[in-house]
C-alpha cells in the first residue's frame, strides 16, 4: 500500500510529534515498508484463523476489589514537572 507524506503528517499530528522534512520523507518510506509487509496477509487464505486478540493465551486476570492505601500525595506529586495546591499543574486548557 502506498503511504503519502500527508498521511505521515496526519499521524504525526495525532501523536503530537513535530517531524522535520527529512524525517517526514524517511518515515513515509518506513511506514510504507511496514504496511506492505502486513499487506502480505491479504494474499493468504485466513478464513479459518481466529483474530489474535492477545499474544499470550491467558484470560480473566482479575484483581480482588480490596482497597490498597493510596500513595502519599507529596511523594506522588514529586514526579510532576509542576504542581500547585496539591494538584498537578499543566499549561492552561481552555474549552
Amino acid at each position: 500500500m502506498k503511504i503519502t507524506k500527508e498521511q505521515v503528517e496526519h499521524v504525526a499530528k495525532l501523536a503530537r510529534l513535530n517531524l522535520t522534512e527529512e524525517e517526514k520523507i524517511s518515515f513515509t518510506k518506513d511506514m510504507e515498508a511496514i504496511i506492505s509487509f502486513a499487506d502480505q496477509i491479504n494474499d493468504l487464505d485466513i478464513d479459518d484463523v481466529k483474530p489474535t486478540d492477545h499474544v499470550i493465551p491467558i484470560n480473566n486476570v482479575f484483581r480482588p476489589d480490596v482497597v490498597v492505601p493510596p500513595m502519599d500525595r507529596e511523594l506522588l506529586l514529586s514526579n510532576a514537572p509542576s504542581q500547585e495546591n496539591g494538584c498537578f499543574s499543566v499549561p492552561k486548557i481552555v474549552e
Binding site: R73, L76, G86
Partner: protein, 480 residues
C-alpha cells in the same frame, strides 16, 4: 417549515460510575470527593512503567447491568485503548472497549403518557473515568486525579428517541434499574450518572437522518430536557434559514439557557483504537451468567405489574413505591403481615415519605420494621384503633420503634367500640346539644357532624366513628 413539522431523533450515551470499593485498574479507593489527589497511586496517575490489573467486581457489575437490561453477553470480550490527548487522562489514552463490549443488544421498556415503547440498547461496555480539571485563576490548569480510574459503564442506546419526554422516562427507568441491580449509586449531582445526547432533526416522513450534534456530560434530567428543547429549535431555525447543521459537540449552559459549541478539532474523533496489550481478554461462562441472573432482584416493571394485579393498589401508588427497591421490599414485607395492602401503600406514601428527605426516600432508608407497619394497619382494619389514633401511634412508633400494639396498650388508645357505653354517651350528647339536634331534625344532615365532634371530644378521639354515626342516627331517627 413549522417547528412541529420536524421530527427529533436522539440517541443517548449514559455513563454510570460503578460502586466498587476500588478503582478499575488499581487498589485506590473509589470514593467521591476527598482532598485532591489523595485517592491516587502511580497506576491511576499514568506513571511510566506501571501496569493495570482489572478489578473483577467491575466485570461482575457490568454483567449485572447488562443482564438487568436484557442484553446479550459477549462470552469473549476484550479491552482497547482509545487514544486522545487531554490532561484529565494522564496516560494519553483511555482504556475502554471497542469491538467486543461485555454486553450488547438489550432493551429498556418505557411509557410516556400511557403509551409504552421499547428503547434499544446497542451496547454496554466498561471503561475508566477521567480526572477533573480545575480551572482556577492562576498560571496553569490544575488536575485532581481522584476520579481518574473510577470504573464506568457506558450504556449506548439506539437512536430510538423522538421526544424529550421519552428521554426523561428512559433515564428515570435506567437509573432505577441500575439502582435495583445495585451496581451504581446513580447520584446525578455527584456525576455518577451522566448523559450525552446525540440529536438531529428531519422533516416528518423523511427517511434519512439529519446531521447530529452531541451534547455532553449533562447530569440533571431537568437540564437535559431543557437542552433538548433548545437544541432542536436551534437546528430547526438554522435549516429554515437555509443553513446547514455542523456536526459538533455542544455544551448546555444552564445559566443562559442555551447550548454552546465547544472548541473541537476535526480530528478529535480519530481515536486510533487498538487492543490493550496490558490486559487479558475477559471470558464469561454460562455458569457465571446464570449465577448473576439468579442474584438479580425482581425489576421495577415486574413488581409494578404484580402490585396492580395482586395487591390492588393504584398505578400512581405503585410507581412511587417501585421507584426504590428498598421501599418496594418494605412494601412487600409489610403487605405480607397486613390485611390490606392498599392501606399499607397509603401509609408509606403519606406518613413515611413525609418523614424522609429525597435521598432517604430514594435509598428506601425506612427506619421501621416493615412488620410494624403491617401490624399498625391490622389494628385499624380490626377496629382496635381508628385512623386518627393510628397517626398518633405511628408518630410514637417512628420515634420509639416500639411495637404498635404495645403503644396502644400503654397509652390506652383502644377504640371504644362498646355499644352500651357509646349509646349512653350518644344520648347525653343529644340531650345537651339542642341546636344541632333541632337543625338535623329540620333536615340539615350536616348538623350531625357537630354531634360527632362532641362524641370524639368526650372519648378523646377513641370512638369508633362508624359506630358513633349509626348510633346517633338511630337515636335521632326515633325523635323525628
Amino acid at each position: 417549515m413549522s417547528y412541529n413539522d420536524y421530527e427529533i431523533v436522539m440517541g443517548l450515551e449514559v455513563h454510570s460510575e460503578l460502586k466498587t470499593k476500588t478503582k478499575i485498574f488499581c487498589g485506590c479507593p473509589n470514593e467521591f470527593g476527598g482532598e485532591t489527589n489523595t485517592h491516587c497511586c502511580p497506576i491511576c496517575t499514568g506513571m511510566p512503567g506501571t501496569l493495570p490489573v482489572l478489578n473483577g467486581t467491575v466485570v461482575e457489575y457490568a454483567l449485572r447491568a447488562g443482564l438487568a437490561t436484557g442484553c446479550k453477553i459477549n462470552m469473549f470480550s476484550k479491552q482497547d485503548r482509545k487514544n486522545y490527548f487531554y490532561p484529565d487522562l494522564p496516560k494519553a489514552y483511555q482504556i475502554s472497549q471497542f469491538d467486543l463490549p461485555l454486553c450488547y443488544a438489550g432493551e429498556v421498556a418505557i411509557e410516556v403518557d400511557g403509551k409504552p415503547s421499547l428503547i434499544g440498547l446497542t451496547r454496554i461496555h466498561i471503561e475508566e473515568d477521567a480526572g477533573k480539571l480545575l480551572h482556577e485563576a492562576g498560571e496553569g490548569s490544575l488536575i485532581d486525579y481522584n476520579r481518574c480510574g473510577v470504573p464506568l459503564i457506558e450504556i449506548v442506546s439506539e437512536p430510538d428517541f423522538r421526544s424529550a419526554g421519552e428521554v426523561r422516562a428512559y433515564l428515570e427507568k435506567l437509573r432505577s434499574i441500575l439502582l435495583y441491580a445495585e451496581v451504581s449509586d446513580c447520584k446525578m449531582n455527584e456525576g455518577s450518572f451522566r448523559c450525552d445526547v446525540n440529536l438531529s432533526i428531519r422533516p416528518k416522513g423523511q427517511k434519512e437522518l439529519g446531521t447530529r450534534t452531541e451534547m455532553k456530560n449533562m447530569n440533571s434530567i431537568n437540564f437535559i430536557v431543557k437542552a433538548i428543547d433548545y437544541e432542536a429549535k436551534r437546528q430547526a431555525q438554522i435549516i429554515d434559514g437555509g443553513g446547514v447543521i455542523i456536526q459538533e459537540t455542544r455544551r448546555w449552559d444552564e445559566g443562559k439557557g442555551i447550548t454552546v459549541a465547544m472548541r473541537s478539532k476535526s480530528d478529535a474523533h480519530d481515536y486510533r483504537y487498538f487492543p490493550e496489550p496490558d490486559l487479558m481478554p475477559i471470558i464469561t461462562t454460562e455458569e457465571t451468567m446464570e449465577k448473576i441472573k439468579a442474584s438479580l432482584p425482581v425489576m421495577p416493571d415486574i413488581r409494578k405489574a404484580l402490585y396492580l394485579k395482586e395487591y390492588g393498589i393504584t398505578e400512581y401508588d405503585a410507581d412511587l413505591i417501585v421507584a426504590s427497591r428498598h421501599v418496594a421490599d418494605f412494601f412487600e414485607v409489610a403487605s405480607k403481615t397486613a390485611k390490606n395492602s392498599k392501606t399499607v401503600a397509603n401509609w408509606i406514601i403519606t406518613e413515611i415519605f413525609s418523614r424522609l428527605n429525597e435521598d432517604e426516600k430514594e435509598e428506601g432508608k425506612i427506619p421501621l420494621k416493615p412488620e410494624s407497619l403491617g401490624e399498625l394497619v391490622n389494628l385499624i382494619e380490626d377496629g382496635v384503633i381508628n385512623s386518627s389514633t393510628a397517626k398518633e401511634v405511628f408518630a410514637d412508633m417512628w420515634d420509639t420503634r416500639k411495637a404498635p400494639a404495645l403503644i396502644v396498650e400503654e397509652k390506652g388508645l383502644k377504640q371504644i367500640s362498646n355499644d352500651d357505653e357509646l349509646k349512653s354517651m350518644a344520648q347525653e350528647v343529644i340531650n345537651e346539644n339542642t341546636k344541632p339536634v333541632a337543625d338535623f331534625l329540620s333536615g340539615i344532615e350536616a348538623a350531625i357532624q357537630s354531634l360527632m365532634g362532641q362524641m370524639m371530644k368526650r372519648t378523646k378521639g377513641k370512638a369508633n366513628p362508624g359506630m358513633v354515626i349509626s348510633l346517633l342516627k338511630e337515636i335521632l331517627g326515633g325523635m323525628k
